[in-house]
């Protein structure tokens, strides 16, 4: 190995991550479905952030009842109708975006923050560290993720935060497994060998050289996972294990409207469509990204 090949790899890392990001953008812009999905996702995130400003009636959206207006069909005044407590459903769908969309994004981020470093550690260190970490993840993955989350959520007591925590606990092992696989292949690369050769400490190698290179496979996996986690969160709320009434949440609203599905279908339909559209957007985008990058190639 010559001196130049020792210097070049460190530069290459930086170069590669910006190039990958631009690559992702160019892929998204060229594919109309992915572009549309991205726009939908950004739109919903904006709605969630500015819910109080956008919702026609934020107080009803947050849970204030309005008994004079119960079960009104969709009209100009209430585009999505009103529910059994007279609340404007459009407002509730808008206000419900935070627990239904932003919280799952937080769940996935936390799962990555826990799972990725462990995976890098396992893959880089190998030996008993690897064995220990992977056997623990195997245990978590032995349960159907949603079932595990349900059991933990109910053991902790119901509520949005607890449901989110339960989902983090059930989801991090997927990232450990993914990042470990990527790390195993990165470990053989010159820039890691070079860093080892000049005596860089292990945790610095993991932090500076390994983890930055796992970002794009993680990103692809996270996009697909977000759809699943939003569904899971909606499911927990639907069962009554997530957000508690009177707070708004799409899953909870579908559950509330279920009783009136044949006579006042709008109560369950609009929040249901909201979940479907957001999850569809994440899955369409994730599908395209996966075709281009395929994080599973590392497994």
């Amino acid at each position: 190995m010559t001196m130049t090949s020792l210097e070049v790899p460190a530069l290459k890392t930086e170069e590669k991550s910006t190039r990958t990001f631009r690559h992702v953008l160019s892929v998204i812009v060229r594919d109309p479905l992915s572009l549309a999905s991205t726009i939908v996702i950004i739109l919903f995130i904006l709605i969630a952030i500015f819910a109080w400003q956008i919702a026609p009636n934020p107080l009803e959206g947050a849970g204030k009842t309005n008994v004079g207006n119960t079960m009104l069909a969709p009209s100009g005044e209430h585009p999505f109708g009103t529910d059994k407590l007279g609340r404007d459903i459009l407002s509730r769908v808008i206000m419900g975006a935070q627990p239904a969309l932003i919280v799952p994004i937080g769940v996935v981020l936390l799962a990555i923050l826990i799972g990725a470093p462990l995976g890098a550690l396992a893959g880089y260190k190998g030996g008993w560290v690897d064995e220990l970490i992977m056997r623990i993840t195997d245990l978590f993955l032995a349960f159907p993720s949603l079932l595990l989350a349900m059991a933990i959520a109910s053991a902790l007591g119901r509520g949005l935060g607890k449901a989110a925590f339960a989902l983090v606990i059930s989801w991090w092992p997927w990232y450990t497994r993914l990042v470990r696989g990527v790390t195993l292949s990165l470990k053989e690369r010159y820039f890691v060998e070079a860093a080892q050769a000049i005596g860089v400490r292990d945790w610095v190698i993991i932090w500076r050289h390994i983890l930055p290179n796992t970002i794009s496979p993680i990103l692809v996996q996270a996009t697909v996972d977000l759809g699943t986690v939003i569904l899971a969160m909606g499911g927990l709320a639907f069962l009554g294990l997530g957000t508690q009434p009177p707070s708004p949440d799409w899953g909870l609203m579908v559950s509330d409207g279920r009783t009136y599905i044949l006579t006042q279908p709008w109560i369950a339909t609009f929040p249901g469509i909201a979940i479907f559209v957001v999850v569809l957007a994440f899955n369409l985008l994730g599908d395209t990204l996966r075709d281009v990058f395929d994080p599973r190639q590392y497994r």
């Binding site: 059991a151 933990i152 053991a155 902790l156 499911g235 069962l239 044949l262 479907f276």
Partner: protein, 340 residues
Amino acid sequence: MQKLEFILRRLLSSLFVLIGVSIMTFFIARVVPTNAAELYIGPKARPDDIARVTKQLGLDKPLPVQYAIYMSELFHGDLGVSLGTKRPVLTEISGRLPATLELLITGMFLAVLFGVPLGVLSARWQGKLPDTAVRILSIMGVSMPAFFLGLVLQIFFFRDLHLLPLAARVASDLRFTSPIKDITGFFLIDSLITGNWAGLKDVALHILLPALTLAAYPIGLIARMTRASMLEVLEQDYIRTARAYGVREAVITYLYALKNAIGPTLTVVGITFAYALVGTFFVEIIFNWPGLGQFTVRSLLGLDYPAIMGITLFGAVGYVLINLIVDLLQAWIDPRISLK
């Protein structure tokens, strides 16, 4: 010989996972709740009651001892008594299992029935219109929450078209007109072997919507996986050779390629079984299906700890077993796997 070794290794690792799973369920049900004894009795627990139950449940003993007691009870088939129904958890689970399994298996059957051909179609017309259509359809399938799809199907097929019943496992008057004799607990089979045609028709009509709701997610996954593995197989030399010999494309696709592409699809079927198992929870609620899912949700909400523990354990064991079966099946279909 290698095959036997593979099977033994696989069985052993499953056993380890099962032990770990039992530790985890134990943790969730006994350690995570801050005061398990209080939860077991209910909100109106008096201090002396709590003390009594703490002793009764062995909660005052060290954790390893508690776990040992719990495991020995488990090996005697004792999962405890449900707080909600006051009957043994095992009885509750086994009594409701046939209804859930019938729904689950019918759903997975529909998923394979639609998913595999859709995937093959997609692969054969790669990049063309059918491929795009199947792609969008499958992604829609995995994006639709089961608890919403069920409602949409109810509106459409029951309210608007009057084609299918709204909910339940059989019509309420069926037990007077042509009652189903409970032999296996699977009503489709029971009505079939007793020649109860009116019953069979009723059961089939009732299971269609819930099974379809359940199948949507697996259909999407199976179609995508079949497509991917078909594309991989279609690139291989023996397919090219077959083409060179002038074998018809249909024969190549359905006979030569599909046979070798079915392995990875099988894995996905195994994985989706777990998704579908949890999916039954939602489907059973919406379609008022008297199975395990309804019981699970009631236990989760009612903080029925012995039941939650039993069901979680049961679900994990089922999941581990399905994965084991899939692996063994694959080794049987494709001998190269057991050599790895």
